[in-house]
């Protein structure tokens, strides 16, 4: 395996700038959402959760799952098969689990004061809960002890199967009568039913959350790459030691044959 241990200075800068922009954008969203935007006609101040819950759900459902499925398909396709696609899918899904869980938590916190209940078994909420379970199943699949290739295949197929739930979550509010409201922005005629400063703050929320997600996936992907390199090195080291045991007459090469020690 090639030495992909460090990012180039330029890539490190881009990732850092993305993370910083995301955090600053989030801070602005909070400021606009809590102090500048007006209360809603029906919901009053409860509307302020609209700047958090939909952006989190957007990342969980479309970005994280989209990236995970893209990585999985590119790995499954023989021509584009590469370890890095498997790592990307794993990183996206792992970050996605956090966002799906946050979607359920923020939605529940919003539902209690507006609907009057913490939870309702309607099609949208139930299919989203199922999505979290599928994602957790995927993460469990990644931790099953296995050789890298069968594991990557298993995970990729698992991700593609789990992705079936994504359109169900998206269209649940159209296919069935749900307690959850329909889409405000991505509705059938694509005319957002949100006005003025509220719309712009919501847009900023979407952009910031996207940047935070991009940053988190980049960092997680890098950790996965380093872990693979470390695993490969320790495997080679262990092999070299076993071979050395089998050839007592041959001098054991400590520096030359064995890669430099890998820290825990």
């Amino acid at each position: 395996m090639s030495a992909v241990t460090t990012w180039s200075a330029r890539r490190a800068w881009v990732v850092r700038a993305t993370g910083l922009a995301g955090v600053v954008g989030m801070a602005f969203t909070v400021w606009l959402g809590l102090w500048i935007t007006p209360p809603d006609k029906v919901q009053g101040n409860l509307v302020r959760l609209v700047y958090l819950h939909p952006p989190v759900a957007w990342v969980a459902l479309y970005l994280a799952f989209g990236l995970a499925v893209l990585g999985s398909l590119l790995w499954l396709w023989p021509r584009t098969r590469n370890d890095s696609w498997d790592r990307l899918a794993g990183a996206a899904m792992e970050v996605g689990v956090v966002f799906t869980a946050l979607t359920l938590v923020t939605g529940s916190l919003w539902g209690r004061p507006t609907w009057g209940v913490w939870w309702a078994w309607d099609a949208r909420l139930t299919s989203t809960a199922l999505l979290l379970v599928l994602q957790l199943g995927y993460l469990a699949l990644r931790r099953v002890a296995s050789e890298p290739e069968p594991r990557a295949r298993r995970c990729a197929i698992g991700a593609v199967i789990a992705a079936v739930d994504v359109p169900i979550v998206h269209f649940s509010v159209d296919w069935w009568r749900t307690l959850h409201q329909g889409a405000t922005v991505l509705n059938a005629n694509l005319s957002p039913t949100i006005h003025g400063a509220m719309a712009w703050t919501l847009l900023l929320g979407f952009v910031s959350m996207t940047l935070v997600f991009a940053w988190m996936v980049s960092v997680r992907y890098r950790i996965a790459t380093l872990a693979d390199v470390a695993a490969d090195r320790s495997m080679q080291q262990a092999l070299a030691e076993r071979w050395a045991e089998g050839m007592p007459e041959a001098p054991v090469e400590e520096e030359g044959g064995v890669p430099a020690g890998v820290g825990p």
């Binding site: 395996m1 007006p38 209360p39 809603d40 006609k41 029906v42 919901q43 009053g44 409860l46 509307v47 609209v50 004061p113 507006t114 609907w115 009057g116 209940v117 309702a120 078994w121 309607d122 099609a123 050789e147 890298p148 290739e149 069968p150 199967i161 079936v164 169900i168 649940s172 296919w175 069935w176 009568r177 749900t178 307690l179 409201q181 329909g182 889409a183 405000t184 509705n187 039913t193 949100i194 006005h195 003025g196 400063a197 509220m198 490969d232 495997m235 080679q236 092999l239 070299a240 071979w243 089998g246 050839m247």
Partner: protein, 164 residues
């Protein structure tokens, strides 16, 4: 296995986990297997979605409930309707109001306090059953819309921070 002969050369690390070369026939058969699996999966899901139909609906609208009132009888279900302005009346143990669909109206007698967003002209879901002509419920859930409108669109914020 006491004495193991050392391997002549280090096998390349990249050889780990790679599949031995397969014949074109086996490859085609494997691809066919994946294809069949995918078709079966998609078919099963399409079948489920098409057969599930209305069983995943969270509530019946006032109009639907009135259309099958005889069939529903005294069974418990969720009823959705718009709170008719002027019909809301507080009682000792809850609230009475009229829920409206597009064609029908149903008087609702609810036990328990309604949630904070309960108000005239808002869609609500009530959990209960028909008792004669009225719907007796013990829970009101507010089913707000996906529309967000500023409370006072004409308001301006003066430079000194006051709002008028």
């Amino acid at each position: 296995m006491t004495e193991v002969e050392a391997p002549p050369a280090h096998p390349p690390a990249s050889a780990r986990g790679t599949v031995p070369p397969v014949s074109a026939l086996a490859k085609r058969r494997r691809r066919l297997r994946y294809l069949v699996l995918a078709v079966v999966l998609v078919g099963a899901i399409a079948f489920l979605i098409s057969r599930i139909g209305g069983s995943l609906d969270y509530f019946e609208t006032v109009d639907q409930a009135m259309a099958q009132k005889a069939k529903l009888g005294g069974q418990t279900f969720r009823l959705e309707g718009l709170v008719v302005p002027g019909s809301v009346r507080r009682t000792v143990d809850g609230v009475d109001f009229v829920a409206a669909g597009t064609k029908h109206r149903v008087p609702v007698e609810n036990t328990g306090n309604p949630p904070q967003l309960f108000q005239p002209d808002i869609p609500v879901v009530v959990v209960g059953h028909f008792s004669g002509g009225t719907f007796v419920s013990n829970q009101i859930i507010v089913d707000h819309t996906a529309t967000y409108i500023e409370e006072h669109p004409a308001r301006v914020r003066a430079p000194n921070g006051t709002v008028r």
